[in-house]
Symmetry: C3
Subunit: 368 residues, 3 copies
Amino acid sequence: MPAFALKDIADALDARLSGDGAFKVERLVHPMDATSPHDLILAFDTKLHAFLENTPAKAAVLGEGQEEMGKRFAGVLFVSRPRAAMAKLTSLFAIPSSEKKGVHPSAVIDPSAKIGKNVSIGPLCYVGPRTIIGEGTRLATQVSVGADVKIGSDCSLYSGVRVAERVEIGDRVIVQFNAVIGADGFSFVTPEPGSAETLKEKHSGKVETFNTHILRIHSLGAVILSDDVEVGACSTIDRGTVTHTRIGRNTKIDNQVQIGHNASIGENCLICGNVGVAGSAQIGNRVVLAAGSGVADHVKIGDDAVLMSASQLGGNLPSKGVYLGAPAQPRERAEEQFFHIARLKVLRKRLESLEEKVNLLERQEKKG
Amino acid sequence: MPAFALKDIADALDARLSGDGAFKVERLVHPMDATSPHDLILAFDTKLHAFLENTPAKAAVLGEGQEEMGKRFAGVLFVSRPRAAMAKLTSLFAIPSSEKKGVHPSAVIDPSAKIGKNVSIGPLCYVGPRTIIGEGTRLATQVSVGADVKIGSDCSLYSGVRVAERVEIGDRVIVQFNAVIGADGFSFVTPEPGSAETLKEKHSGKVETFNTHILRIHSLGAVILSDDVEVGACSTIDRGTVTHTRIGRNTKIDNQVQIGHNASIGENCLICGNVGVAGSAQIGNRVVLAAGSGVADHVKIGDDAVLMSASQLGGNLPSKGVYLGAPAQPRERAEEQFFHIARLKVLRKRLESLEEKVNLLERQEKKG
Amino acid sequence: MPAFALKDIADALDARLSGDGAFKVERLVHPMDATSPHDLILAFDTKLHAFLENTPAKAAVLGEGQEEMGKRFAGVLFVSRPRAAMAKLTSLFAIPSSEKKGVHPSAVIDPSAKIGKNVSIGPLCYVGPRTIIGEGTRLATQVSVGADVKIGSDCSLYSGVRVAERVEIGDRVIVQFNAVIGADGFSFVTPEPGSAETLKEKHSGKVETFNTHILRIHSLGAVILSDDVEVGACSTIDRGTVTHTRIGRNTKIDNQVQIGHNASIGENCLICGNVGVAGSAQIGNRVVLAAGSGVADHVKIGDDAVLMSASQLGGNLPSKGVYLGAPAQPRERAEEQFFHIARLKVLRKRLESLEEKVNLLERQEKKG
């Protein structure tokens, strides 16, 4: 178990230290989980302070202004932006994976593959012909990497990850369990325009052309994951048709996300869980697609835009725009509609009351 | 193939037996699939009775009151609550997995792992250092279980399941194919408040703070699956940040479900297919999340509540409440809105007709 | 690298050749990716023509009518229906997988399995007892096929695919990475009617029956995938309860799709990404379920129907019908409602202005 002096953590975090800087802590814990004096309690949220009354822990990380609560500890780190401090704190206390360097004897590595220095290839992995794996990269267990793949240095591919042939992966990329990089695109065509194709062009409410034959379009392209990308568990990114599907530098993708063939996603994007991005969508930099949202094929999203959770985007989304709803539209417009929908019952009653008044006025008019 | 006397099945089911209790049946079949006299036909639904006219089967399970149809069989079991009878019937006829006890020679087991009695670890599995696997538990094939994991007794982990380091699994837990227990949480932060964070607090329709840097918050916590939990194929449950993600006793999770970091789910819940539960959501006991529904982060759901299918919950859901829609709201209110929306065209016409009348009245008033 | 004469490609595509039919091409590329004279550029979209100005490539495939642009190439293929031409073109240039025929020594094959001629079983695969694998079928790497499975000829199962016991797969079926065929159905029941069951029958807004016990219904049925079916990465198809879950001939299923137990899907359907089909749904032939849509349990969909993207179907969908929205309804009706909702603010203002007018009329009437 690692042990850190509070002073050193304060320096790393740029936090204000109060109390004994030489005091050593071994674990970062939730207030409910503290069991030892050397646990460092994380309690930014004042709702958690009730748990601190009788805690055995002697050190804590608190938000600025929580001075009073800090008094019961031997040492306290005060932090002004808790969420940002979490990044460094959790990095410090992260438990390294227990896998050993080198290639496990049960792994199957094609003799033509080029494996860099300090690579760790765990039990029952497969690496295909001519594939290049960069220095310090880790393949956990039961990973498969197909032929002609290039993987950079210091990547981490968790158990069960599948990397298909010809995929290119940059440096420091993390791919979580059972994710799939480079499945074939879902690309099929009918010899004559079929039902879905016709419905896109003709605004019909009835199907008039039929998918009696379905032909497969093969995927000749690959997937390119740039440096520092992260892909979540069971997420899937399909290969392109003739060009490549691209994920830009430092973009983070959550679990159960589907990215279709030929899609292009910029840098520093956050793609949350259960999102679907259809084929050939073009997404800018620093875009956020919130959980459960969907992006239609060929749609364009500008830089810094946000698609709110569960929203379904059928058209383009301008730079810095915030879109909401199904179908997605500018946030204010969507919320205005929610407001009016919630008041439809009252609107209807007002209309009915007005109808009565007008009827009465009409009768009076006739009489008069 | 097992063979059961109808009398014994009647006892097990608490069903009413009519006819030859000594008659033996070997398979439980749909009316369309019967091929042998010793098939036991399941036909609660009277629409299926047409298939019984010329069936070779000589035994059936029918609903109470279907006396007439029963006459053509050598033996019939009459059941008053068909769906509940299905649990026992299918349990009786379930075909046990064909894997052998013991550790397959191709499996890679760390020497420090502790494997209980009667454990079955199939071909090409991996078990990490210091991991403990309880008596009678089965790892099918190509399963990976990381370091420092605890798995209870009589569990069944299907092929391709990934259990990450430090996860704790109770007794009799079933995890279906390619499910992932303990991927890292999707937890990222910008040094200064970024676009999504600001939009939560400020009700803006335009992005004004930008995600130019993204920092990773590491996941130090684990996942705890209590006794009798079931997790579906390709479902993912992320580990907590500093504390654990928790799934309560006997909760059943379907396929393609995503449970975010730090979430806490109670006992006896039913989480249906394609559901997404975001990080730190707190869900009570006996809650039903119907197919395709989504729960936002930090949201609380009370005991016995039901979130109807495809509904998107952004706020809390009270105990016993039934919520519907996107955004989700109390069922009656959501259905009332659907009702009014469906009549908007008529409402508009009534308004237009009223406008004409009022115009006429105004003209008459002026003239008058 | 294969090389084709333009003349031969023209024949295969039924395309019009202009220029040097003997000219040889080696790769099919996007205009941006051309690096060699022997690249064949694909540029149906005139927006891409800017890239052709200084391209090193000497051959292109263009749409009919793009005669002018074709002049700069040594040879051009003119095509009248570009999307259909893509099927043949990409098939021609598809790069075959690099796996070798035969069974890799690291694969674990039960001695009772029957493996056909020219089968390729890659590293670290598992094949169970009594399973039959047809001629020319390929299991990539780390695939598992359970006991008593039948797989036809010329199938391709990508890395990490799980095929559970007793599943039947036809000829030429493709299953992408980490897909799961034959997990247990999500089928649970309470001894007395529970919350979800009661809410279906009784139109209540509050839960009045509780899921204090949950019993498992076991899945005795299997899954049947007919000839030429394709299943996407991380998709899951559950086994039936007493009968089988069925996918008809030539139906194509995208990534992250969930098909519930007992569902029956016809021929030539297109099931796009992130779709959920609940248990016992019955879907006809040539049906399109667009991305992110959901189909409730026991629902019926007629032949040639289209469920538009993100739509949630709770009732039946007639043959050739086009449904949209959540809840899904006929497309025209849904779009009409979107139209009226977008104008609610104006409607409300018109109502308010009318109320003022009527108030004035009433006052005048009283005075008068």
